[in-house]
Symmetry: C2
Subunit: 349 residues, 2 copies
């Protein structure tokens, strides 16, 4: 009998369905984790439905994993059974390239091994993600999670958290930095929390006036309705940094015009159509656009430790595994505040 119960996409069209499979036996450097919670990232939908191309089926999505260590290999030093542990967007990398050596395994020259929809480095095993009862991962790619935090609300930190934390740090956001956060969803709500926590003056940029109250509850100091031309004019050249979390198709120019001298737009949202870019809006004020993709293992641990210290978690809505297809439908309508998290207990019964 297979050792792991899961939900998988069998192809790009059908809803996710139950799927049983075997995780590998624990190797000397492996940590075996009983999964407690797994966040539902928008990229789960993109990949389950092959919207980025190259999807590998059957696919067990999920890369915002929190669980309890149940077994460790004999050479494991960082974890012991009973520890709370996290697994994020990657479970392996080449480990020897110049990027891996700089603790930036997420930018591995050979390509990181994604937690799902990816081939393990043996070239023949499909990596399967966190919509499942357990996972086995090399300890180098496993993170310590404080049990002081609400674990279901920690899960989204493993992707949405690090995806917003890393570029804000890279852009040196700190006390007094004028930060705009565009797009209030899974990423954006974490961006607001981190930027505010770092001491920045945070403005939520949104097309939805009804998001103002919630943005301020999350820590935003101001709200800019981006569909209001007079307000947009007022904020021209205002921001030092804009964290662009928008995954809907849009023009970059609208946001670029809001940046002041040497202002930076940090891109973490991934629209399906390539945005257009006015070079004039870019050369004005010596503006930059900076891409960022999750973070390396060291920085992800730093982020989790920072969250434990500052009591930062995601705002989540817990669902059962069996409710995943309805959750996807609601996410596509923008109807989630701000992250669905699967309680894997629902799959163990």
């Amino acid at each position: 009998m297979p050792n792991t119960k899961a939900y998988a996409a069998y192809n790009a069209q059908d809803p996710l369905k139950p799927f049983d499979f075997d995780r590998r036996d624990v190797r000397p450097n492996d940590v075996q984790i009983e999964i407690l919670f797994c966040g539902v990232c928008h990229s789960d939908i993109h990949q389950a439905r092959d919207e980025w191309g190259g999807s590998i089926y059957p696919m067990v999505p999920g890369h915002e994993i929190v669980g309890r260590v149940i077994k460790t290999g004999e050479q494991v030093t960082k974890f012991k059974p009973g520890d709370i542990a996290g697994v994020g967007v990657l479970v392996d990398s080449c480990r020897v390239c110049k990027h891996c050596e700089r603790d930036m395994e997420n930018y591995c020259v050979e390509g990181m091994t994604g937690t799902y929809n990816s081939m393990e480095r043996d070239g023949k095993t499909i990596a399967q993600g966190g919509y499942s009862t357990q996972i086995v991962v090399d300890e180098k790619y496993v993170l310590h999670v404080s049990d002081k935090l609400d674990l279901k609300a920690v899960a989204p930190l493993l992707c949405a958290g690090i995806t917003t934390y890393s570029p804000l740090r890279y852009a040196n956001v700190g006390k007094g930095t004028k930060v705009g956060v565009a797009g209030l969803g899974g990423l954006g709500h974490m961006g607001v929390k981190f930027a505010a926590s770092f001491g920045a003056e945070v403005t939520m940029l949104s097309t939805s006036p009804n998001k103002e109250a919630d943005a301020k509850r999350l820590g935003a100091h101001h709200f800019l309705l981006t569909s209001d031309e007079a307000q947009m004019k007022k904020y021209e050249g205002y921001f030092d940094v804009i964290l662009n979390c928008v995954s809907a198709n849009h023009s970059y120019e609208k946001y670029l015009n809001l940046l002041g001298l040497e202002g930076k737009m940090l891109v973490v949202g991934l629209p399906s159509e390539n945005p257009q870019l006015s070079p004039f809006a870019l050369i004005t004020n010596r503006r930059s656009i900076v891409g960022s993709m999750i973070g390396g293992m060291k920085e992800t641990q730093e982020m989790l430790d920072y969250c434990a210290e500052h009591n930062i978690v995601a705002d989540v809505e817990v669902i059962k595994m069996q409710e995943i297809n309805e959750a996807y439908a609601r996410m596509l309508r923008g109807d989630v505040h701000y992250r669905f998290v699967i309680d894997l207990e629902s799959l163990k019964k």
Copy 2:
């Protein structure tokens, strides 16, 4: 009789024709300059033909000006008659905004006063450029030029020079930096010279194999034929910096893929159609796109001093004022190595 002879665009369609007008009388802070040489920038054509919109006619183009001081106002301290002086892309700014105060008058919050196709700060006088026999400019916006250099070849430094110098400095290009320069024209040939002079390893990126020899003569160490897929594959992730001087319509993705970890594409070329941008190419390797527009007065002086010290000038072809329309036609065919410079002596007879 008007004190200044010039050539002007009278509208967007017709060739440039002779135009006589009066420069203002010398004010206490002004420097009056007899123009010796004026470079011909591609933006002269764009503006003369109203390709960027909002052109003001009659328009005397020209913002790469070198000349001899013939008169100074009573409060002028930096210049005396007989000095060699330069005027670049701006002749005024608000002087009090936070950007002006940081010596970045080119990014003046109120908007700089362009040397031509712009209104003076009195709001009623049209600023007229260097296709003319003389110019009167506040000393704050006039630059010292070493008479050790070949003055006709200095003129293009005032725009093409500072436009490439400033972003290379901003990106900390120095010894060993792997720099690609895309587009071998007025800007690109200066980019190659500066990057090589700063100690970088310079690669010319071009679609024209026949530019290889010249690129290497200018200082490039390598040549990458961007239409050759195998070569492009080989250089994937290779560069620290790409100076993008391409003004033809193009996709940014092709160049982004050549950037390594935290690599930067510096944008100074201004295509008429907005380039598309793949966010995936941007988030991979944490890449940036950085815009840059000429430079402030302090940095422009620094650039001119650097050029005097290192004997750097542009490669130019000298023309008479009367040949300007033919020169425009040749520029549009890419038939210039690498900058036309008008000898204003031709207009004084």
